[in-house]
Amino acid sequence: MSPPVEDEAPPPLLEVIDLHVSYPTASGPLPAVRGVSFSVDAGESVGIAGESGCGKSTIAATVLRLQPKGASVEGSVLVNGQDTQRMPWGQLRAVRWGDAAIVFQGALHSLNPVQRIEDQIAEPIRLHDESVGKGAAATRVGQLLESVGLPSGRGSAYPHQLSGGQKQRVMIAMALACRPQLILADEPTTALDVMVQAQVLSVLTDLVYDLGLGLLLISHDLSVLGTTCDRVLVMYAGRVVEHGPAASLFDHPLHPYGGALAAAFPRVGDPRARFAPVGLPGDPPDPQALPSGCPFHPRCALATEECTTTDPPLEPMAPCREVACLHADESRDMKLLLARSRLQAARPAGSATAP
């Protein structure tokens, strides 16, 4: 190994190291995140996919230490090399929005309903830099609104006067207000129409690309991540079960769950999609009562005896691919396999098998 060079690559924007987050509930601690590690570099888009309750939103909240009071956190979350979990409050408040900003789901109640949009966007600007006057802030607000495709005059509107797509774009503009380097987008397109989804995504990705920001995009919709991100992590029951470049993960998933997610959003022209599985049987596991061994085994088409006793670790399978499955096989076409098993399940017993 060669000695470290002077001008090494800068530290990653976001580095999550063995994160464990657990919520206190009336019936005992609820582990939401059970050992997740990943990193996001400047200019990179990383996606996290998974069903509701798998812990992905918790990760976004924890990055800026917004998890509910009483939640216990182990591991480190480094933003620009500094651990947000151990920072003093003053520094944390500066990091919030200034280094990393969250784009929440704007459709519902993430905006103050009785404040004008321009005031809400200007608020963090003037908070983070007291020298900015009202006029300067207003100018910047206008610029931000135009950068997301809204006329600057819309700033005087109230949230209820905007459509869902417009509100989401306001959330994006607001996130960029203090020129952060990292954007965390938590389900930014859920609850929007498909066409509006595409618009919002294009606005987000264009800005990220133009400004060279890092993006952590969280969604249950793998197709969104597949087309927007460089890399994708698939989470299940608080752990990462698959990790790889977006396109190859979407086309050739290696983990059965990843395969089910990918197959749930069939591509036109893909012959395997003709027999796409209609979702997964069963329900997401109760985090307080996880199945033994691999938490996915009750719903898995490949499960064997061994899967009920051993929890597979996340291991590299191919260059840039990691999977947490005992039966992972790089050469297997997961989507085809799932399509086949779906067909077999649909056919009555004893009849001839499909292609």
């Binding site: 800026l64 500066a94 919030r96 929440f104 103050n112 809204l150 509107a157 209820h160 294009s202």
Partner: protein
């Protein structure tokens, strides 16, 4: 990185500035229309009260000439003269029109007890009631909201427990009974406690109301009744503010505010508390009648010569014109106060100005 399909033609992404101006102009017009609707609604309610006032007292006062004639007329001709003078056997619609004409000038006739115009009596008694109710309302709103806010911020801790228990108990108390107890302890003297406050009335005898001495004297007389009413009123405000703020603290936009780097204190003050005031305005405006009830009963307990005491005194005979007058004044005040608070709410919450 692949680029998604360009669908920018579907929704006007960069809408023109003029379109945006149109939108704000139409929303301003909607705001004025809403204002007009509220005022018209209150006017209709006032009209309803005017009508009810007329018919209600008609039913009570079936033979007004008898009460009017008491002590003044004996012979049937004299009674008939009274009937003619007041138009008491005119057809109903005619009487109603006369009533309408009179009510515009707040002319309710003469009091049976005092043989003076009701309007004059009410005007004389107006100031004590306004002083009492006005001061109490202002103080109770300030303290009630303050206590409710702190209780919500410290939910589950000692302050919350103590204040919530106290306010619920105050809320379950007849306000005049609280007045009686305060009177008993602090005005008539009880055991070791000396007589700290005067036993009722607004002024001590022989003191000119508007001199400096007089003002101090009036204030001294008003302390106990104001304390009574303030405590009684603030209970409701505190309880409502607390629950409104607790509701607000669970809202998503507070998470956004925190993520933007606001400290807890700023989040609470600038966003949560301010927004929690909105439902308080609504809920309180539904209950403005209790301010009036408090005035009536507490004035009676402390013998404050205001509109409330006028009303309870008038119940004895019953002095119909006075009752009719005070009923109208009280009801109309509540309607107007309601309108003011509705308009205030509309000013604070732009969502309702649709």
């Amino acid at each position: 990185m692949t680029h998604p399909i360009d669908v920018t033609g579907i929704e006007p992404v960069a809408a023109s500035q003029s379109a945006s101006d149109e939108v704000s102009a139409s929303s301003r017009a909607a705001g004025w229309r809403w204002f007009g609707r509220k005022v018209a609604g209150s006017a209709a309610t006032l009209g309803f009260i005017v009508v009810v006032n007329f018919f209600l007292f008609r039913v009570i006062n079936k033979h007004p000439e008898r009460t009017l004639a008491r002590g003044r007329a004996k012979t049937p001709e004299q009674v008939q003269a009274i009937v003619d003078k007041y138009g008491l056997d005119d057809p109903l619609p005619r009487q109603f029109l006369v009533y309408l004409k009179n009510i515009v000038t707040l002319d309710f006739g003469d009091s049976y007890q005092y043989s003076q115009p009701v309007r004059g009596l009410m005007l004389d008694r107006l100031w004590p009631t306004v002083a009492l109710v006005g001061t109490s309302t202002v103080l109770s709103i300030i303290f009630g909201i303050w206590i409710g806010t702190i209780a919500a911020w410290n939910r589950g801790r000692t302050f919350d427990g103590v204040s919530t228990t106290s306010t619920i108990t105050l809320y379950s108390m007849p306000e005049w009974w609280l007045g009686l107890i305060l009177f008993l302890f602090l005005a008539t003297g009880f055991g070791p406690i000396p007589r700290l406050f005067p036993i009722g009335q607004l002024k001590s005898a022989g003191v000119d109301g508007w001199s400096l001495n007089g003002v101090i004297d009036q204030t001294w007389h008003l302390v106990l009744p104001v304390v009574t009413l303030t405590l009684a009123y603030l209970a409701e405000y505190a309880l409502i503010m607390r629950s409104a703020l607790l509701d607000e603290m669970g809202e998503d936009y507070l998470q956004t505010a925190r993520a933007k780097g606001l400290s807890d204190l700023l989040v609470r003050r600038r966003h949560a508390t301010r927004n929690a005031l909105l439902p308080v305005v609504t809920l309180v405006s539904l209950n403005l009648g209790f301010i009036v009830s408090g005035a009536i009963t507490v004035e009676t307990v402390f013998s404050i010569p205001g509109l409330g005491l006028l009303t309870t005194d008038a119940l004895r005979i019953p002095d119909i014109p006075v009752l009719q007058g005070t009923f109208f004044v009280f009801s109309a005040s509540v309607v107007i106060a309601n309108l003011v608070s509705n308009l205030l709410y509309g000013w604070l919450d732009p969502r309702v100005r649709v």
